[in-house]
Amino acid sequence: MSRISKEELAQVIYLAHIHVAEEEQEQLHRDLERLLDSASKVQEVDTTGVEPMYRPIPLHNVMRPDENRPSLAQEKVLQNAPEVQDGFFRVPRILD
């Protein structure tokens, strides 16, 4: 049984912003099917009335005061950027 349709695969690839070459799609599809076989085992568990546990140690109201701290120097901000211009990060055009 197929858990993930070709359309769903295409949507997931689209949303994840990962280019997948045409010839790699089939193998990827098979890999994901197998991973999902294992992942979907959670659905066998009866979880009626169970509260989800989003984090292992329950904490709440972890907050800090509204105080300024020094920012980074601009050159440090930009030091790892693939492309910069005039103190900005530069990227290709947003719309085609």
Partner: protein, 487 residues
Amino acid sequence: MTKTATAWETVIGLEIHAELLTDAKIWCGCSTQFGNEQNTNVCPICLGLPGTLPVLNQKAVEYTIRAGLALGCEIAAFSKFDRKNYFYPDLPKAHQVSQDDQPFCVNGQVEFEIDGKTYRVGINRVHLEEEAGKSVHSGDNILGSEFTLIDYNRAGVPLIEIVTEPDIRSPEEARVFLENLRTILRYAGVSDCKMEEGSLRCDANISLRPRGSTEFGAKVEIKNMNSFRSVQRALEYEMLRQQEVLESGGVVQRETRHWDDAKGRTVAMRTKEEADDYRYFPDPDLPPVIVEREWVEAIRAELPELPQARRRRFVEEYGLPAYDASILTTEKSLADFYEATVAEFAEPKTVSNWIMGEVLRLLNETGRTPDDIPIEPNALAELLTLVKKGTIGANVGKEVLEEMFKSGKRAADIVKERGLEQISDTEQLKEIVAEVIAENPGPVQQYLGGKETVIKFLVGQVMKKTRGQANPTLANELLEAALKELS
């Protein structure tokens, strides 16, 4: 309006984003100050560098709750943060930390008036999230630009999103609601709400439906409205556009349209091939927030009197006309200034006239806002006292106020330095009156012939000779007496 306009009912809902006035960003200590050099209010955390983690700014939560209270919302006892996942170059982590299903505030409402009629708009929710960075497009705009430059100074500034119910029925209502919302948020002190700086932004959903229908039509989302006026204009344009589509038998597309202010029209934005799916899930890095009642009450206690209540009180307590009350209360600082002045000079309507007339005019001329009125309320009260006592005339008073705005000097000092006191010395004025009578035989004859209105001209001549400093009432009396002697 065309005849068919009444066949359709317009349904509008707004989504407003307001940046909060905290000193530091929501997750880190970087400054939220506007207008600094690009990429200088940035640290590893707000840049989303690998390994960094967010820690919530308590004031951002308190301001969100304060905004919710000012908008009449219920404050949730339990609230949490969720990740909204999408890719955009101005979004450093490819997810915006926001609130999906458990926002801080729900179920509020805003009441306002247009031409004496009261309107109510429901507030569906107010939630806290983080601001993205800013894109600067090469060329004129995003379309056709070759590259884009990104500045992350704004990234991580705390932002509230306010979502209204689809209760708004006209573009004008939308604008007036938004103006009222701005006033409320500014009163609450949570946002400066400057649309021109982007600290207040508004997107709108608008649909049309046959009048009487309870179903909603296909809604269109309008973006890029950068002023209160453009919100109304864009919605008016879109309302007519949809009406034309419907009346020509067409179907309104559910889509997002971009308001082009220069061209005065909305333009469809490119639709993506697949629907976005933000894949919300609770942010594992941020524990939830439990809001105890005492905390809410402490925040409520910090809230000032809100504009609507203050407007009503101004009418009741000071006997002001509704119009005056509404102008004086649009800005908290103006209303504060008004009340402080009245406390020193107990003629509420006179103070209102001077503020609405002269003070606002001078602010406008000097490019100031009510937040930075350059004089103290007691200085205005002093000036009004001088006018009332007759030390100076009203017109001279206006000149003195202008000088007070410029130099910051006290009214009495300006009057003294420039010798602006009214001439109320009878002997001195008598001489001038005699001169005026001698120099104007014609008008004098007319007066004596029974045309008594000519006295105004003669008073004017006295004023002219004294460069406006004669006490006009006294000049009038002395002229009448001298002319009586001639008859």
